[in-house]
């Protein structure tokens, strides 16, 4: 009787470069996958392709000029980026922001959350393989939202609308009606996405139990935002450290169960519903009044040697601004705590051991925008 074990095949691991030019629009991001057959063994991300030195540039610009730069650090959710910055300046300058400005800021930030999540659905749908339908639906909805932003601030994506103390100018007279119109169309968009993807068996088969990250691991890595809540961690800055008037409106915080790709998708879908709820409550409570404090200095100067860290719940997570003042009208140091960079740390852990096709979906589900990762 001859016992012979089959020879061990010496296979070489393939190195696949998912290059800076991506088939699905996440921006310029490069990851190198080491693949054994179909299974990912190692993943090395390369970032920095979109670094423009925004933080350094802000050191030479005063507190009105810096708002334009903060837009560009997260262009899909620019209102939220501007918000953190102006809140930091207001905290150091001890400015009292009038109520009307706060309500309008809240409405605009939540509308921006809607448009950012629509963008996520579009790109994610293309990643999963639907030929282009979710992407076009996403842009259809974003178009209505962006048209509204253009009527308010003049620009479709880089608003430069918030100022330290309030807003740059008043919203147009038909603001409430326009927001209601936009909400109606966004509801239809959310319904379309829900019907298209959530119960689709193939979608579920592709996304369930793929790219799982546990709650402990997520907290250790420093994730925040929807990706963290999808793992079951109940952390929403709007509830734990309420800013603007979030403690005066009612909304729920959706949580996931498994921390897989499907949960991240579903949590964002539910967050959009909650955002629309918040916007409606804000519209009811919106009152007339000034949008800038009365005693507003012409050139804002901050006291010397002060520092503050302000964080807000941007659509992608905790977007924080750390501001150190040196006594003039320019900051000494402005540091942006980027949510996407921290969330991206989890990519390797989520992808190792999964199939190559899933690595793409996992990257899409973290919802990164490279301008925030690289600043």
């Amino acid at each position: 009787m001859v016992t012979e074990t089959a020879p061990e095949f010496e296979t070489q691991d393939l190195l696949i470069n998912v290059g800076p030019q991506h088939p699905s629009t996440h921006g310029v991001f490069r990851m190198v996958l080491e693949v054994d057959g179909e299974v990912v063994k190692e993943l090395v991300p390369h970032i920095g392709y979109l670094h423009r030195g925004a933080e350094k540039l802000c050191e030479n610009n005063d507190f009105r000029q810096g708002v334009g730069y903060m837009d560009r650090t997260e262009y899909l959710a620019a209102h939220n980026a501007e918000l953190s910055y102006v809140m930091a300046v207001e905290a150091l300058a001890e400015l009292e922001v009038p109520a009307r400005a706060q309500w309008i800021r809240m409405i605009l930030c939540e509308l921006n959350r809607l448009s950012s999540h629509f963008m996520f659905f579009g790109a994610f749908g293309v990643d999963v393989g639907v030929f282009g339908t979710p992407f076009v639906y996403a842009w259809r909805e974003r178009e209505t939202l962006i048209d509204l932003f253009e009527e308010i601030s003049g620009d479709r994506m880089m608003y430069a609308y918030f100022r330290a103390g309030g807003l740059a100018w008043e919203v147009p007279a038909n603001f409430k009606e326009r927001v209601h119109e936009v909400l109606k169309s966004s509801r239809q968009g959310v319904k379309d996405f829900d019907g298209l993807l959530t119960e689709n068996e193939i979608f579920i088969a592709r996304t369930k139990n793929v790219g799982i990250i546990s709650a402990e691991d997520a907290i250790e890595i420093g994730m925040s935002g929807s990706s963290l809540r999808a793992s079951g961690v109940n952390l929403d800055i709007r509830k734990t450290e309420p800013y603007l008037f979030y403690d005066q409106v009612e909304f729920d915080v959706p949580l996931g169960e498994n921390g897989d790709v499907f949960d991240r998708y579903y949590v964002r879908l539910q967050e959009m519903e909650q955002s629309m709820r918040i916007i409606e409550q804000c519209l009811e409570r919106l009152e007339d009044g000034p949008i800038m404090p009365e005693k507003m200095p012409r050139m804002l100067r901050l006291p010397e040697g002060q520092e503050v860290y302000i964080r807000t719940e941007a659509p992608r997570g905790e977007y924080g601004v750390y501001l150190v003042s040196k006594g003039g009208n320019k900051p000494w140091r402005l540091k942006v705590r980027s949510a996407c960079l921290s969330n991206l740390q989890a990519l390797r852990q989520m992808s190792v051991g999964q199939y190559v096709a899933d690595a793409i979906i996992i990257l899409g589900s973290i919802d990164i925008v490279l301008s925030e990762v690289d600043r």
């Binding site: 810096g66 253009e150 009527e151 003049g154 880089m158 379309d192 019907g195 979608f203």
Partner: protein, 156 residues
């Protein structure tokens, strides 16, 4: 199977809804009043000279330093026999549209309401073959307002 049927139903409903395409460049949508393209200078039609006095306020306020301004004594001032109240007037003005970030700060700081953001389609359709063609000089900046082609919006 039910989920797939639902997806098919959603796409069929959009099939029936019809296209939402706006056929650019055959049709241009109407821009809102506050639309913010690139800055242009305004022309005072009553006195027939620019509002801008060349005071450098916008040049200093610009975050990206895209403007260059030169001022001169106004030959049309009352002291010289003219009708204008402006002692100084702009001599040369360059804006590099390639650097401008359209943040509106120059409009906000101007004391004379002499500069405004272009809210027409000409402000958006700015394709050139050479980047240096994007540096606009004074006649180019004033041409639209001189020809009364715009209804500018300046925030109060």
């Amino acid at each position: 199977m039910k989920g797939i049927m639902k997806s098919l139903a959603v796409t069929m409903s959009t099939f029936i809804r019809g296209p939402v395409t706006r056929n650019y460049p055959t049709e241009h949508r109407e821009l809102p009043e506050r639309d913010r393209a690139f800055p242009i200078l305004l022309w005072d039609q009553d006195i027939d000279e620019p509002f801008c006095t060349g005071c450098h306020a916008c040049e200093r306020a610009c975050p990206v330093e895209c403007m260059t301004v030169l001022m001169k004594d106004n030959p049309a001032h009352e002291s010289q026999g003219g009708t204008s109240k402006r002692r100084k007037i702009v001599d040369e003005f360059w804006i590099d549209y390639g650097r401008c970030m359209r943040c509106n700060i120059c409009v906000e700081v101007c004391n004379f309401e002499a500069i405004a953001m272009n809210n027409t389609w000409q402000g958006h359709e700015m394709s050139v073959y050479d980047r240096s063609d994007l540096v606009m000089d004074l006649p180019q900046l004033m041409s639209q307002s001189k020809a009364e082609e715009i209804q500018e919006w300046v925030a109060d």
